[in-house]
């Protein structure tokens, strides 16, 4: 379970002060896929980075399974699987080595680690890729590697930052299928996106963020009802109060 | 070139008469070692060598049959190899004389043996009785003026005076004990084996070493050999032969022959004149510039002349020297005497001690007569030695001493064809007994073949390959004959030169 409570975060530079988060609160429950929907610059990435413990909130707190990220970042991160927005790969390592590396960082070893890696390779159908160096991988292949390394330690909570960006249809389908499987196993999945269809298709709950605040939350259905619109996209525009920065 | 005169050509001199004629004794400090320690070794500087070297002393019994008796300190110097990483065996240098102190030759050896020193330590040991190893040196009561005094004035009382100053049991200062010292130093320095180089009397020492401690020696270079079969002192024939060759070279040299057409006759006439009575002339003192009397006797003239026969650069002055003297100009002679003043470094006490006991008794009257039957200095040098030896305390060399040495140690024998004291026939004698030896005769070389770069290269090659018969001797052909000085201002040469042009080296 991921809880975010009244996060405030400002970035101060010489010229101006940007208020990235302004009292954002939400909860992503286990066994659900929670989507964070917001226009560019709404504070999605800042929120997630605070969740990873990379940024410190000026006010408020984030908890992962009840562990305060600010106090015990390492313990909190152990319960996280992260799929970052810009997934880079170690291009001189093979896919297998890369997954192995992250598994080791999470403290796995020996047979346990091997089985976990085999499992994730099977799950993502990437045995053919496993022993190739990742340089020159297609976007879909890269996504699979990133997914595998994020999930190899079977994290209770799984955070994805704009995961489908740049993915073709097939890759997106694989990702979705996998997320659904994870959900079924009772994991907590937090999913940030600015793509409507995706959120609508996948998420159990949607949190709409605008200007560092939660603009609305609920199931896609609820949100449509709330805005009095039949399409989520229309609801979204209405809820954030502008159509600026919305991607179709 | 003048500076070369000081070089190795002086490394080992066997001549005795010459030593007396220019007796300029240097201060010799007696090593005083209260140290009970056997071996001491430390970094030091020796004269003429800029680099730090190693100096050491080793306490040895004066009498090896009395190990607990009187002890003397043996002084030695190690000139370290430039590159010691190759772990080559060192070369032990045995000096001439007898009576030269090896460590006093350090600067000559340092530069002269540079090629060898690149990879090998050079060990210079002061033979007992020389240098700082219990030196047997006579301090003259008055500094002998080399211009006014003549060797003929040398008297027995001088010898007796000298004997009074010597300390130690003279009978222990013999060649065999010297070798025991050398080998003790070798062992103390922890060398299983060494190479040895002996020059002049050093070859005699080397031969004794080979007989006494063959297992200590890896290989031997004998340069200008004084074999045990040939007693030291019989220089009449060899000096005459060397001189005659010089005269012949001058006659073969178109320019020299033209300049000095009657050199041989002039020499005979001059000798006869001096034999009748010494000549005294007034000259400016070569060093002080003040007027001084300069007395030239027969023996003084001949011994100075003989001295010039040892090396190629000095030989080139001989025709001029004779011709000028014949004309009544003795200044070149004075200049040469000035050159060698205070430069001999022969420890005369040790010299006589060895020659009088180990060599002179072996010279029969018949040998003496045969040796004196020559056209140069007749029996001059031997007569002077005999005089000193008549009062010198005697000892009996060991029974083995006169045995010919025949061992299988690889040995390189070098002789200079123009040598006035150790002619190639000596080298032949040694060669005949040594199974694994090779005798090289350098055509345009007088005493000590190692005095040329070519000689050193051959020695170095031998030390490296250990194959005396397979050495590249070709450079000897490039060594030029004497380039005679033909006038008081130097060359008057116009036509072609005698010197063979060196081949272009890449």
């Amino acid at each position: 379970m991921i809880e975010v409570n009244n996060l405030h975060k400002s970035f101060v530079s010489k010229k101006n002060t940007v208020r990235a988060l302004d009292g954002l609160s939400f909860t992503a429950k286990d066994g659900e896929i929670t989507g964070i929907l917001g226009p560019n610059g709404a504070g999605k990435t800042t929120c997630l980075r605070t969740l990873y413990g990379l940024l410190r909130a000026d006010q408020g707190e984030a908890r992962i399974d009840g562990i305060k990220v600010t106090q015990e970042p390492i313990k909190a991160r152990k319960r996280l699987g992260i799929f970052p927005d810009k997934f880079g790969l170690y291009e001189r390592l093979t896919a297998y080595e890369q997954i192995d590396y992250f598994a080791s960082i999470h403290g796995m070893k020996g047979i346990e680690k091997q089985t976990a890696i085999e499992q994730i390779l099977t799950d993502l159908d990437m045995h053919a890729l496993a022993h190739r160096k990742t340089v020159g991988f297609s976007q879909g292949q890269r996504m699979k590697v990133t997914l595998a390394q994020a999930l190899v330690h079977q994290p209770k909570n799984f955070v994805l930052d704009e995961p489908t960006r740049g993915l073709d249809v097939m890759s997106t389908r694989i990702l979705r299928a996998h997320l659904a499987k994870f959900k079924a196993k009772g994991h907590c999945i937090l999913f940030s996106s600015h793509v409507m269809q995706e959120v609508a298709a996948l998420c159990d709950r949607v949190i709409i963020v605008a200007n560092g605040k939660m603009a609305a939350q609920g199931t896609p259905q609820e949100l449509c009802e709330l805005a009095g619109e039949t399409h989520l996209e229309e609801a979204f525009v209405k809820l954030i109060g502008s159509d600026e920065g919305v991607a179709a | 070139m003048i500076k070369n005169w000081h070089r190795l050509c002086r490394a080992g001199r066997l001549s005795v008469g010459l030593v007396i004629a220019t007796m300029g004794f240097s201060q010799a400090c007696i090593a005083q070692s209260s140290d009970s320690q056997q071996l001491s070794l430390q970094s030091c500087h020796v004269k003429g060598v800029r680099q730090q070297v190693q100096c050491g002393t080793l306490m040895v019994p004066e009498d090896y049959t009395q190990p607990n008796g009187e002890r003397i300190s043996i002084n030695f110097v190690i000139l370290p190899a430039i590159d010691s990483s190759k772990k080559q065996l060192p070369l032990m240098f045995l000096a001439g004389g007898p009576g030269q102190a090896a460590t006093e030759l350090a600067s000559h050896i340092y530069s002269g043996f540079n090629e060898v020193r690149k990879t090998r330590d050079l060990i210079l040991i002061d033979q007992r009785g020389t240098g700082q190893s219990a030196p047997l040196q006579c301090q003259e009561p008055l500094t002998l003026d080399p211009y006014t005094s003549v060797p003929e004035d040398f008297t027995l009382s001088d010898v007796k005076q000298c004997l009074l100053q010597l300390r130690g049991d003279l009978s222990q200062f013999n060649s065999e004990n010297a070798i025991r010292d050398f080998d003790a130093v070798r062992a103390a320095l922890d060398h299983q084996q060494v190479h040895i180089y002996g020059g002049s009397y050093g070859t005699r020492a080397g031969l004794v070493y080979m007989r006494m401690f063959p297992e200590s020696i890896k290989s031997v270079v004998l340069d200008s050999v004084g074999p045990i079969e040939v007693p030291i002192g019989l220089f009449g024939q060899s000096a005459a032969q060397s001189f005659e060759r010089l005269l012949a070279h001058c006659q073969n040299d178109q320019l020299c022959a033209k300049q000095y057409p009657n050199l041989a006759q002039e020499f005979v006439a001059l000798k006869a004149k001096l034999k009748r009575a010494p000549v005294t002339v007034e000259i400016a003192h070569p060093r002080l510039g003040t007027n001084t009397a300069f007395t030239i006797s027969h023996d003084k003239f001949l011994s100075t002349l003989q001295m010039q026969l040892y090396s190629m650069p000095t030989r080139s002055l001989v025709p001029l020297l004779i011709h000028q003297a014949y004309l009544g100009d003795y200044k070149p002679l004075a200049g040469l005497i000035a050159q060698s003043e205070g430069d001999m470094g022969i420890y005369i006490g040790l010299h006589f001690n060895i020659v009088c006991n180990e060599d002179l008794p072996k010279i029969s009257e018949r040998m003496k007569a045969a040796d004196a039957d020559n056209s140069f200095a007749q029996g001059m040098s031997l007569a002077m030695v005999a005089k000193a030896c008549s009062v010198w305390p005697s000892y009996q060399p060991s029974e083995n001493f006169y045995q010919s040495v025949n061992v299988e140690i690889p040995t390189l024998i070098l002789s200079g064809a123009l040598d006035p004291v150790t002619p190639p026939s000596n080298g032949e004698q040694a060669h005949a007994h040594l199974v694994n030896s090779h005798h090289i005769i350098a055509k345009n070389n007088a005493h000590i073949v190692a005095s040329t770069a070519c000689g050193i290269n051959i020695i170095n090659e031998f030390l490296t390959t250990q194959k005396p018969t397979e050495l590249d001797e070709s450079c000897l052909d490039d060594v030029p004959a004497e380039s005679f000085m033909l006038g008081l201002n130097g060359g008057v040469a116009i036509a072609t030169s005698q010197t063979k042009p060196a081949q272009a080296r890449k």
């Binding site: 990873y52 390592l93 070893k109 | -």
Partner: protein, 387 residues
């Protein structure tokens, strides 16, 4: 511990698979022995070898003995020049003019004027000209000495004062030039060899978007820094070892004894040099990582970190300039090691206390840098520059 191991294994795998960076890292180690060898060969040739020099004589027939003396030192007549070198020597055009009345003037004791004509500014001619001048001076002097000698003058009068030099340096310091070069190069190798790896694993990883992922993992930044540090410094250490070994090998092809020098690295020297340089490698890697993480891009990292090279090359030279060295230079990082290395090459006994202090100081500084870097990686500034 296991995490650290995994981190290190990954860093090493990446470093060793990056052939280009590895090449750059090892290039110094490979090039420098060759450079030293070539430099020495040239130096030895200049100093000792006497390659033939061809001179255009005019009036050679008037002074055959002088010509013979020149020939003896391999200074030959232009007439003897081999065909393939003819053009060269014709261009160099060294002319020596001997006057017609050489012999008469010599006999008369009059001064003789020889003319040596050449382009004295031409670098390739400096050694030949020096050799010709030296020989003619020596030849002239030797005749002068003989003239005085045969006039009954003690020629020692010409040298009233003789200076006997006693050099207190140890024999092996003859090879100072090489040691000095090698010392500077070793220092530079320690500093530079890890550089490509350090930049790649910091600024490079950031640019490839893998750093953020790593920072989000449950691992302390200290471990991350240590892993990167050990990798970069290991490369530097390997490079140094390679350099020492190759230099030792290369020296076998140069006959240093010709210039009275020797050079060999024995086991103990080797060990001491490593002992001195390993802390430097660590310090260098820490500095490189610090600067590279600071930089905004890979390019910027390259340029700022490259400036670090100034440090190791500047300090030894600054030390050379300093005549009175205060004691603390012995203990400072880099300067301490430079001085100790100089001692090692001179063959002096190692000052163990200085070695201890300078190593301790270097390691302390490294630890401080690592700590600072670990702290920095948790800072928002670094995170913000991630994207």
């Amino acid at each position: 511990m296991m995490q650290l191991k995994a981190l290190m294994v990954k860093e090493f795998k990446e470093a060793f698979r990056d052939k280009r960076a590895l090449m750059v890292a090892m290039s110094m180690a490979l090039l420098m022995p060759v450079m030293i060898m070539v430099m020495l060969k040239v130096a030895i040739k200049e100093a000792v070898d006497n390659p033939p020099v061809y001179v255009k004589y005019s009036g050679a027939q008037y002074a055959p003995k002088l010509i013979a003396a020149l020939e003896n030192k391999n200074i030959l007549s232009f007439a003897q020049v081999p065909a393939d070198e003819k053009r060269n020597w014709n261009e160099r055009n060294i002319e020596l003019t001997i006057p017609e009345h050489f012999a008469e003037d010599m006999a008369a004791g009059k001064p003789i004027e020889l003319i040596l004509r050449a382009d004295f500014n031409e670098k390739s001619l400096s050694t030949p000209i020096r050799r010709i001048k030296t020989l003619i001076n020596e030849y002239s002097l030797s005749i002068g000495y003989k003239r005085l000698l045969v006039r009954g003058i003690d020629i020692k009068l010409l040298q009233p004062i003789k200076l006997l030099e006693q050099d207190t340096a140890l024999p092996s310091s003859n090879a100072m030039m090489i040691s000095l070069i090698l010392g500077v190069y070793l220092m530079m190798a320690a500093f530079m060899s890890g550089l490509p790896v350090a930049i790649d694993s910091s600024a490079g990883e950031r640019e490839r978007n893998v750093l953020e992922m790593l920072l989000c993992q449950p691992v302390s930044t200290l471990k991350i820094v240590l892993a990167k540090l050990s990798c970069a410094s290991a490369i530097a250490i390997i490079s140094i070892i390679l350099m020492l070994v190759l230099t030792s090998l290369a020296m076998n092809f140069v006959d240093l004894t010709k210039i009275g020098a020797t050079f060999s690295i024995d086991a103990s020297t080797f060990a001491i040099l490593l002992l001195l340089l390993v802390p430097i490698c660590l310090l260098a890697a820490a500095l490189q990582l610090l600067f590279a993480f600071q930089a905004k891009s890979f390019k910027e990292a390259q340029s700022t970190v490259t400036m670090l090279i100034m440090v190791p090359s500047f300090i030894p030279f600054a030390l050379m300039m300093m005549d009175d060295k205060p004691a603390w230079v012995n203990w400072l990082p880099i300067s301490g090691q430079s001085l100790l290395m100089e001692d090692v090459f001179k063959g002096l006994a190692v000052d163990w206390s200085a070695l201890f202090f300078t190593s301790a100081a270097t390691i302390a500084l490294t630890v401080l840098l690592v700590w600072v870097l670990a702290k920095r990686l948790t800072s928002e500034k670094v995170v913000m520059s991630l994207s």
